[in-house]
Amino acid sequence: MNPRLTVKDLSVEFDTDEGIVLAVDRMSFDVEAGEVLALVGESGCGKSVTAMSVLGLLPPIASAKGSITLDGTELRSLSKRKMQKIRGSDISMIFQEPMTSLNPSFTIGFQIIEVLRRHKDLSRHDAKKQAIELLDLVQIPVPAKRVDEYPHQLSGGMRQRVMIAMAVACNPRVLIADEPTTALDVTTQAQILEILRDLRERVGTSIVLITHDLGVVADIADRVEVMYAGHKVESAPVDQLFAHPQHPYTIGLMGAVPRPDLFVEGASRRLQEIPGRVPVLHGKPQECVFAPRCARATAECWTSMPPLEQVRPLHYAACYHPGAQNMQSNTLDDEVFT
């Protein structure tokens, strides 16, 4: 099956005052039609930079290498004008902060119509009609009235839904959602996830979901790529990742999330900690990027960055000691995650 979006060996460097910063190092992934791929990681892992690269929205101090193809078309070699045509119509994006991503000076109707008229040949009247339909699609009540309202008149959840409406207005083949629910309440998050799920089911939109929230990943992702310091460290179908995490960083991340549903009387309530901080890379790493923080690191780990290798069916990890391992006693424990 030919994937819809293919990113191959994407590397992004930033030329900053403190020198070169390597934000993404040879990142590769595919997204199939109708699939939800989650890019998971914490601050500084390079997931947002990856997303911006796909859309061609990197700032001037960034330089990118590698290939990004959408249904066979190489995006990185397109002219600015051609890329502008694709942005918003074939690939679109929703951002984390709905308040700062919507223009406060224009009505939400205006902003949706702007997207529609830029990419489709529509009269103002028809565009407005479609805008109202889109607002209805994202479950905004009384859309005919709200279409003339300004962003400040809407709640955070509603603004995010307006952003989704703008992003899907032209039926994009790929939707990139960068932390779409992080700034929202948990009940609103549930609504937004429902809308995204609905989009995937009804229209077959591929979604690249960027998040650090493992609950959201468990809810909606088909496959997951875990990123750390600009590198992919683990890749697997979602159930496999949660049932058999291989990379110590992934295991650490899962252990760091409080789990009221797993509460056992008398068990320790301490959360798993990962000592240290995410490094800022100034060049290709000469050792495993996670070694400074890893309980399993051996001499080998300090000699080179481990390549991404298959560890289980469809499951890859960049680690010299992958596997579900009991971090305290350093013994292999197959039953750690059930």
């Binding site: 914490e42 601050s43 479950q139 009540p141 709640s155 955070g156 959840g157 509603m158 309440d185 948990v186 009940t187 609103t188 998050q189 549930a190 609504q191 996830l193 429902e194 650090h212 929230d213 493992l214 609950g215 959201v216 990943v217 468990a218 809810d219 992702a221 979602v238 159930d239 949660f242 650490g252 991340l253 899962m254 252990g255 760091a256 999330v257 409080p258 789990r259 009221p260 549903d261 509460f263 309530r269 301490r270 959360l271 798993q272 900690e273 990962i274 901080r277």
Partner: protein, 340 residues
């Protein structure tokens, strides 16, 4: 009667809306009662617009309450003068959400941690330095960090400094307003563990304000759930999670995404429609009736529900359909196909 550290009675905080913008009041906190015993960790949970942060700020008098009383160690601090409040502020400290905004960028870490000690004249000279180093150690930071400035520290480190600062005066009550929400997941874990350890070690009472239910379950002895300025349910933690009574609590718990794809996708989810109503014009009767999947009219929109205490427990909820025998609406019993 009790040796409660904090007793809040019918606290109200209204923010007036300028007449040009329509007039009226934002009823951020609309009559809440809360008690915190010695050494207890109470969670105050709610989403945006619930008023939970406003409660915290009223308690430490960063905001002046519109109405109600706040008793700290039995003394009413609601109307106390600012000068006298200084004494009370020693026993009551606060840590905030934004690690980048709560530390003065022009002060060194040692000055930041020393500030409350200096203000309350608790230490001077070498004993002050000692105390600062001790506090930094207590929060897991090396003592060399005292010479640095906030911009050189990560979010997690700054939050630890905030804790060192607040706890340096050995308060009996710590108000923690979303202390970890702005941090990465793995950093949250270490700060939460630290908070647990410090609380156990120093024995202070804590009001833990957050929207993150999972962290509440981890840290708190009791939980109060807020919606639109009011507490709708309160219970010992285990009971709130196992047998939530109020429809809002049930929806809230249901909305928490579990990091387990099999569980998350097969469990029954209650998805609330709509958004939280405006606190300027709260709904009549039960303020939750506009979104409640089991609201019955006219009672839910006409009458404000009273607190119903479940017999034999310290669990109560404000809902017309929660009875003293423990019976309550079961949102999971609604057929899944129904779009609520």
């Amino acid at each position: 009667m009790s040796d409660a550290v904090l007793e809040v009675k019918q606290l109200k905080k209204y923010f007036p809306v300028p007449r040009s913008a329509g007039g009226g009041n934002v009823r951020a906190v609309d009559g809440i009662d809360l008690t915190i015993e010695k050494g207890e960790v109470v969670g105050l949970v709610g989403e945006s617009g619930s008023g939970k942060s406003t409660v915290g700020k009223c308690i430490v008098r960063l905001l002046k309450p519109t109405d109600g009383t706040i008793l700290l160690h039995g003394q009413d601090i609601t109307k106390v003068s600012r000068r006298n409040l200084r004494v009370d502020r020693r026993s009551m400290q606060m840590v905030f959400q934004d690690p980048y905004a709560t530390l003065n960028p022009r002060m060194s870490i040692s000055d930041i941690v020393a500030e409350p000690l200096r203000m309350h004249r608790l230490a001077r000279g070498p004993s002050l330095t000692n105390k600062v180093e001790m506090m930094l150690d207590k929060v897991g930071l090396s003592k060399d960090i005292q010479y640095r400035f906030p911009h050189e520290l990560s979010g997690g480190q700054r939050q630890r400094v905030g804790l060192a600062r607040s706890l340096s005066v050995d308060p009996t009550l710590l108000i923690a307003d979303e202390p970890v929400s702005a941090l990465d997941v793995s950093v949250q874990a270490s700060v939460l563990n630290l908070l647990m350890d410090l609380q156990r070690d120093m024995g202070f009472s804590c009001l833990f304000i957050t929207h993150n239910l999972a962290t509440v379950e981890l840290l708190c002895n009791r939980v109060a759930v807020m919606y639109l300025g009011r507490i709708v349910e309160e219970a010992p933690t285990e009971q709130l999670f196992e047998v939530p009574k109020h429809p809002y609590t049930q929806s809230l718990l249901s909305a928490v995404a579990i990091p387990d794809p099999v569980l998350q996708r097969t469990r029954q989810r209650i998805v609330l429609q709509g958004d939280i109503p405006s606190p300027i014009n709260p709904p009549t009767g039960c303020s939750f009736h506009t979104r409640c999947p089991v609201a019955v009219f006219p009672i839910c929109s006409a009458q404000e529900p009273l607190k119903t205490e479940i017999e034999g427990t310290s669990h109560w909820a404000s809902c017309h359909f929660v009875k003293p025998d423990g019976s309550a609406p079961d949102l999971k019993a609604i057929p899944v196909e129904t779009k609520i």
